[in-house]
């Protein structure tokens, strides 16, 4: 593998982490969705590049799925949901943006250390890919933890799944069946969550998770 190929793969995976950071501090729903679309687009590019580098044509299918569903269908659908729910409000972060960003940087450092330590035998591309993928997964989890709005939690979950796809394509030889089934499971999860969003709103006039907590009689 030439060093240019490696550098481009590195660049794309790094951009994915960067996009995750962008999602971390977006405090408006529409902006968050746009960044998520960007995130998925970068993922599609990255997967397509892996397909080219590894000469694995089935990865092109994965890239196409990512581009079609994650970069177009899901963001558009979420846009419409937000419009119909009528929530263009600001997102309340549970902890401040500065602190969240610091935590994110810590997580990326942690995933680098872990991955470099546990995979000394693997080839360089896979190592870098896995380290970035783990960062994306952790950042996705962080988004889910720090948001209170159900829609942005869904977006966090979707970005987490993008990290998994990145990891899967970095490790050579993952069968197409697995990827397609993962993609479908995410789609189904999306549909289910979408339906639940409306059900929650119907019942509580809000998709703020705090409303649910209040309903259960919990103190915060």
């Amino acid at each position: 593998m030439s060093s240019l190929q490696f550098d481009i793969a590195h660049l794309l995976a790094g951009s994915l982490v960067l996009a995750s950071f962008m999602m971390l501090y977006q405090d408006r729903l529409y902006a968050l969705l746009n960044v998520y679309a960007l995130h998925a687009g970068v993922l599609a590019l990255s997967v397509a590049w892996q397909a080219y580098v590894q000469q694995a044509p089935h990865l092109y299918v994965t890239a196409l799925i990512a581009l079609l569903f994650k970069a177009v269908v899901i963001p558009v659908a979420l846009h419409r949901i937000i419009k119909r729910l009528g929530i263009h409000r600001e997102i309340e972060n549970v902890i401040g943006i500065g602190l969240t960003m610091m935590a994110g940087i810590g997580l990326v450092a942690l995933s680098m250390v872990v991955m470099l330590r546990v995979t000394p035998g693997a080839d360089a591309l896979a190592r870098e890919d896995l380290a970035f993928a783990l960062s994306v997964v952790l950042l996705g989890l962080l988004i889910m933890v720090t948001r209170r709005n159900a829609v942005s939690q869904v977006v966090g979950f979707m970005s987490l799944e993008n990290g998994l796809v990145l990891a899967a394509t970095g490790a050579k030889g993952m069968p197409l069946v697995v990827e397609i089934s993962v993609a479908f499971s995410v789609l189904i999860a999306f549909i289910v969550i979408g339906i639940f969003l409306f059900r929650i709103r119907e019942r509580f006039d809000s998709v703020d998770m705090q409303a649910l907590d209040r309903f259960r009689g919990e103190r915060r």
């Binding site: 549970v94 997580l107 942690l110 995933s111 250390v113 872990v114 330590r117 546990v118 952790l138 989890l141 962080l142 889910m144 933890v145 209170r148 998770m209 649910l212 907590d213 259960r216 919990e218 915060r220």
Partner: protein, 666 residues
């Protein structure tokens, strides 16, 4: 051989789902129990022929089920063959009994599907040749029996019994899992690999303790016995018979397999632990039994006593094996195995008898029975044989195995270690005490339930039980007698088992004159069951005919002597509680913290005076209740976790993940 055995087990497993369909049919239970009878009989005959003729072959088989890279290994060696005989003899007898008994079952769908599965589970435990199959089958056996324990779930007591049983069964499986984990850590999960490995002395010691806990909790060793007297009586009677007579033996099998077969040469202190648990188990079990009024509960506690005797035998075998006295080890081991068979025979018989009484009267409380010998003469006859056999009276089988155990105890002065030299006679004393109590206990059971006058209307109007049940009981009674008067045959059949487990065999018995058995040498001791039987039969016949000839045959009816108080009320007879009162006064005040509380009414009141007896199970109060309290306290604290918000759960997962990653990274 093993193919036939595995096919029969498969047939049982096919019968289990068929039971769901059959339970809806009017004659479904007949078909199902008939199928079980055929399958278990096949297994029994197969195992018996294997034990007698092909014991040196020990064929094995591997099936591609279970863990994908391991498969399921099965092996039919001498030990497996012997326990297969025990399991399926009990299984066949229970199936035959159930052909008649099942008509008393009001909701057969709760029992029918699980009964064959339970039998199959016990068979697979005995056949398994790798730890995974063994544990899966063990747990399968526990769960299917648990379902049948709670089959009469409308009685709150049964539900509690099921709860305690489930907890104890899980505990037992956990300890066995740990034991096999320790054994397999260096080798792998197949028994062949474990046998070839050489665990260190410390690991082997821990495995022995864990195996004793795991097998002991299933067999009912004190203080792990608490579930047994609750669960065994709660099941339908034929299942009670199986649980008490057979499943406890499967537990003994598990212990023998691990400690005698899979582990290397024993250390002397292993036997000390086993003996110090076995002896008190025997005595305490029968003391508990003496205090009970419920027939099935008496039988369940008496199972604990017999398990104590078996484990004492195994402890002796371990002691003598560790000290290099192989021939005595063979004697003790054979005695224990013989008692395994004997107890399976007479305990099944007694539970079936209790089931017959329960079916005829609907009562398990002895204080409401009485006089059944006139209403149910054949059941009474079979029960009498069972009671005599379990009381270890010659010429029946219980005597032989207990006598052999005592022969081994009497050889303990030959041991070099002083600890064992002092401990074994003490354990022998406990066993002797237990034997005497057992006799008292079964005199009480038989005397109160079958003799005297009926204490209730149901007892007075009881009808003899059906033919199938009677056949099963009489067949077991006949086997008890055969094992008692021809013990040499059984001892010789056990030779390959003893050879494989302790490396020695007892002297060959069959060729000896007059079917005598000689455990060590003729100059020391010998026993001839046939002679005792013939003598007892001749004396009895002679005495009976003499009385008939010489006494006046004119029938006279006269009032029985009633201590001067002519009262026709049967309640003034000797009762179960009054029979055990002397023993309760001597031992119970310490062991059960028993108190008798007399309540006298005030002089003007017409209220009757009452005598109440309070018994406490000190082991329950001192061991189980504190554990339950601690667990309850802890669960209440942890319960908060159940009511977190979604985000807090997410945070919890997130933090856990970060912590784990940090552990990896640092």
């Amino acid at each position: 051989m093993i193919a036939v055995a595995l096919l029969s087990v498969a047939a049982l497993l096919v019968l289990a789902p068929a039971g769901v369909v059959l339970s809806a049919r009017p004659r479904g239970s007949i078909i199902l129990y008939g199928g079980c009878l055929i399958a278990t009989s096949t297994l029994c005959v197969t195992a018996l022929s294997d034990l007698l003729f092909f014991a040196h072959l020990s064929p094995s088989a591997t099936l591609p089920i279970g863990l994908p890279w391991l498969g399921a290994h099965f092996r039919l060696d001498a030990l497996s063959a012997f326990f297969l005989v025990v399991v399926n003899l009990g299984g066949a007898a229970a199936s035959l009994f159930a052909l008649g008994y099942s008509r008393h079952e009001d909701s057969p769908g709760r029992v029918l599907p699980f009964y064959p599965a339970y039998l199959a589970g016990m068979n697979v435990v005995v056949l398994a040749n790798d730890a995974f199959s063994f544990l899966v089958a063990w747990e399968f056996m526990s769960l299917t029996s648990w379902v049948m324990v709670v089959s009469h779930h409308r009685e709150a007591e049964n539900v509690r019994a099921g709860y305690v049983y489930l907890l104890m069964a899980s505990f037992g499986t956990l300890t066995l899992l740990l034991a096999f984990g320790l054994l397999a850590s260096g080798a792998g999960y197949s028994f062949d690999a474990i046998r070839a490995s050489h665990p260190s002395a410390a690991v082997a010691g821990m495995v022995v303790i864990l195996a004793l806990l795991g097998a002991g909790s299933k067999a009912g060793l004190v203080p792990l016995h608490a579930w047994l007297p609750l669960a065994h009586p709660a099941a339908p009677s034929h299942v009670s018979g199986l649980m008490s007579g057979v499943m406890t033996k499967v537990a003994v099998y598990g212990f023998v397999r691990i400690v005698f077969d899979l582990l290397p040469e024993p250390a002397w202190w292993w036997s000390m632990v086993v003996l110090l648990v076995g002896g008190p188990t025997a005595t305490l079990g029968v003391l508990y039994a003496l205090m009970q009024r419920d027939i099935k509960r008496v039988l369940a506690y008496s199972t604990i006593e017999n398990i104590g005797i078996i484990f004492t035998g195994l402890g002796l075998a371990l002691a003598f094996k560790a000290e290099g006295l192989g021939w005595v080890a063979a004697l003790a081991f054979t005695a224990a195995m013989l008692h395994v068979l004997n107890h399976a025979l007479f305990k099944s018989l007694l539970f079936f008898g209790a089931g017959a009484v329960l079916g005829a009267t609907g009562e398990r409380d002895m204080e409401k029975l009485g006089g059944l010998i006139h209403r149910m003469p054949k059941t009474a006859f079979a029960m009498l044989i069972g009671c005599v056999a379990i009381s270890a009276l010659p010429p029946f089988n219980g005597f032989v195995s207990e006598w052999l155990t005592f022969q081994a105890i009497l050889l303990s002065p030959q041991l070099p270690s002083w600890g064992l030299k002092l401990a074994i006679p003490a354990v022998g004393g406990l066993l002797a005490l237990a034997a005497a109590f057992a006799a008292a206990c079964f005199v009480k059971l038989y005397g109160i339930s079958f003799l005297g006058r009926p204490r209730s209307d149901v007892a007075a109007s009881a009808l003899e039980t059906d033919r199938f049940s009677l056949t099963a009981m009489l067949a077991l009674a006949a086997l008890c007698l055969i094992a008692g008067i021809l013990p040499g045959l059984f001892i010789d059949a056990l030779a390959p088992v003893s050879k494989a487990m302790v490396g020695n065999i007892m002297p060959h018995q069959v060729g000896l004159q007059w079917l005598t058995i000689v455990p060590i040498a003729e100059s020391r001791s010998s026993y001839n069951g046939l002679l005792v039987f013939v003598f007892a039969a001749l004396c009895g016949t002679a005495a009976a005919s003499a009385i008939h000839r010489l006494a006046s045959d004119r029938l006279r009816r006269a009032p029985a002597w009633d201590c001067g108080y002519p009262d026709p009320n049967p309640a003034i007879q000797y009762s179960a509680s009054s029979f055990s009162q002397p023993i309760r006064r001597v031992f119970g005040s310490v062991i059960f913290a028993a108190r008798e509380i007399g309540e006298m009414p005030p002089p003007s009141s017409p209220r009757p005076a009452r005598l109440r007896v309070e018994l406490h199970d000190l082991i329950w109060d001192g061991l189980y209740a504190p554990i339950a309290m601690v667990v309850g306290f802890a669960t209440e604290r942890i319960n908060i976790l159940q009511f977190f918000t979604i985000r807090r759960y997410l945070t919890l997962v997130f933090v856990a993940l970060i912590v784990l990653l940090l552990v990896v990274a640092l």
